[in-house]
């Protein structure tokens, strides 16, 4: 039974229904190597985002530092292990762990990916692609309904970076995401870098892809760096590494997106080759500058 779409008004970056929402400012991924620097310098930053699975441990330094940092900053909880695009049932134990983490830290946002990462009881630790067909749509929507019901809140679903497509697909990715948003009432985490990477990898125009997305449902934006490779034909194949600064092409798309949807909570993602905190803060200020250009 499809749920009604929540008429979010993201043109002003507000009002994603739920317990809370992130401020329409730039945030950073929280990395253990930066815990102490953050607490000592308390940098001006909109929010921090954590990968939920990293904090599914009982005690120790991760919870010690996160508890302190949470008391100073808004928090985004970003899952990488629910396997929403998976064939089988969602892992109920994992969903319980997620609920416990949300109970403990009361994050301002929860997001996951349009991808799968577990199959046959094995966790593959990557965000894997799915065919965009009727069967996948039914599975993904059922999984998102289950997540939103169990967590008692709206979630954001992130568009993936992909390297292959499926002959079986009957929807474009944008159409598929549009259907999911309509049927489940979830929001969209628009990863502009993933949009760019996927469009280059599949020979499409990134802005046309973004415009085809359900932009009224966007609740957060991700920006990250990628690596460049080539496919078997010698055409560009971009790899979503989160290991480099945001590229000029992605910044340009981001600025254009903000012109369309208004200020949005925006995350600079960096998970590999992590530089010192000031380098990431400088990158966050670039995004913050673009956000403030829009301020009335």
């Amino acid at each position: 039974m499809p749920k009604p779409v929540h008429p979010a008004s993201p043109a002003r970056g507000a009002a994603a229904p739920g317990p809370a929402c992130l401020p329409p400012r730039c945030g950073l991924g929280l990395k253990p190597e930066h815990f102490r620097a953050i607490l000592e310098t308390q940098p001006e930053i909109g929010f921090f985002e954590i990968h939920a699975e990293n904090y599914m441990v009982e005690g120790g330094p991760l919870h010690h530092y996160l508890t302190q940092i949470r008391s100073h900053y808004p928090l985004s909880l970003h899952g990488v292990g629910l396997s929403i695009g998976g064939d089988g049932e969602l892992d109920a134990v994992h969903l319980d762990r997620l609920a416990a983490l949300i109970e403990r830290y009361a994050p301002d946002s929860f997001s996951e990916h349009l991808a799968w990462s577990s199959h046959g009881g094995v966790f593959l630790d990557d965000l894997l692609p799915l065919p965009y067909d009727r069967y996948s749509l039914i599975r993904v929507c059922a999984h998102i309904d289950q997540v939103q019901t169990r967590l008692g809140r709206r979630m954001l679903l992130e568009n993936p970076a992909t390297y292959v497509e499926f002959a079986a697909s009957t929807f474009s990715e944008a159409e598929f995401l549009g259907e999911v948003v309509v049927r489940t009432g979830c929001g969209l985490l628009l990863d502009v870098s993933n949009a760019y990477v996927s469009c280059v990898n599949h020979g499409r125009d990134p802005w046309a892809f973004i415009e085809a997305l359900p932009l009224a449902a966007v609740g957060q934006v991700h920006l990250a760096g990628f690596a460049c490779d080539t496919d078997a034909a010698g055409d560009s194949l971009l790899i979503d590494t989160h290991g480099a600064p945001v590229s000029q092409a992605v910044w340009a798309l981001y600025r254009r997106l903000l012109g369309r949807v208004g200020p949005m909570p925006t995350l600079i993602e960096r998970d590999n080759d992590i530089p010192p905190l000031p380098v990431l803060l400088a990158e966050a200020r670039c995004a913050q500058g673009m956000l403030q250009e829009l301020a009335p």
Partner: protein, 257 residues
């Protein structure tokens, strides 16, 4: 077999063909593109092991370690998306990994490192107060039957090799060249606060602490330690546990509920 089965199996098995049904916009061979996923999965799992087994990696070099970790990841991929404690089977895998047979102590070093990983993320439990402890210790007649609850982070590793010295030398304490790997050592691993500690203890202390951890009361644990016949310093061992905030509960009856 579903398409997803083929995809998942081919990710971890390089001998499997690229799954059917994949396409690329320019008609190029999708196998090259699928290779990105294969690489992502393997690098992520190897990196997860590399984070927890740093000394093991230093002992064999990065290339050897990554090849060994990849072989382990393919044979024993994680069963849970929580990777903090991935690698429980890795020390045993190392012990049976023929190319590592020349370093018989490697598996025990890996065991020690895995205990450190577990200790890092173990539950935080407050130690018993000094007052509660003093009151209990004053009752000398009741001491043999006293059970001690210990920190969840605590573990004992009794090794035929010099695991503590090897570990310490790789953290800048002592001279690696001077370590005799064949000297047996016992390690106490625990996290008194935020930092995990690795402490070399006498073998009898290891027996004593392991007995306490199994729920046996002080008297019985001390008997087991003395039965080792190599000398046992009860006061020093208890003193170490108290100094490291390792005692979290006192069970006068000796029963650990």
């Amino acid at each position: 077999m579903s398409a997803r089965d083929d995809f998942a199996r081919a990710l971890l098995d390089p001998d499997q063909p690229c799954p059917a049904g994949l396409v690329a916009w320019n008609g190029s061979d999708p196998a090259r593109r699928f290779q990105v996923y294969r690489n992502n999965v393997l690098v992520a799992l190897v990196d997860a092991l590399a984070d927890g087994f740093m000394v093991t990696r230093e002992l064999v070099g990065d290339a050897f370690f990554r090849a060994m970790a990849a072989a382990h990841a393919r044979a024993h991929p994680p069963r849970s998306p929580v990777l903090a404690c991935y690698g429980a089977d890795f020390p045993g895998f190392i012990a049976r990994f023929p190319p590592a047979a020349g370093l018989p102590y490697l598996a025990d070093v890996a065991r020690l490192e895995y205990l450190r990983v577990v200790a890092c993320h173990a539950a935080d439990v407050a130690p018993v107060s000094q007052a509660a402890l003093a009151a209990r210790l004053a009752d000398e007649a009741g001491l043999p039957a006293l059970g001690l609850g210990l920190q969840p982070s605590l573990a004992v590793l009794s090794s035929r090799f010099a695991v503590v010295s090897l570990w310490a030398a790789h953290h800048g304490v002592g001279d690696l060249a001077a370590v005799l790997p064949e000297a047996a050592e016992t390690a106490l691993v625990l996290r008194p606060g935020l930092e995990v500690e690795v402490i070399g203890i006498p073998p009898a202390s290891g027996v004593f602490i392991a007995a306490l951890q199994s729920g046996r009361p002080l008297g019985q644990a001390a008997d087991e330690a003395m039965a080792l016949g190599v000398g046992f310093d009860l006061a020093a061992t208890l003193g170490l546990l108290l100094q490291k905030s390792a005692v979290t509960a006192l069970h006068p009856s000796g029963s650990i509920s």
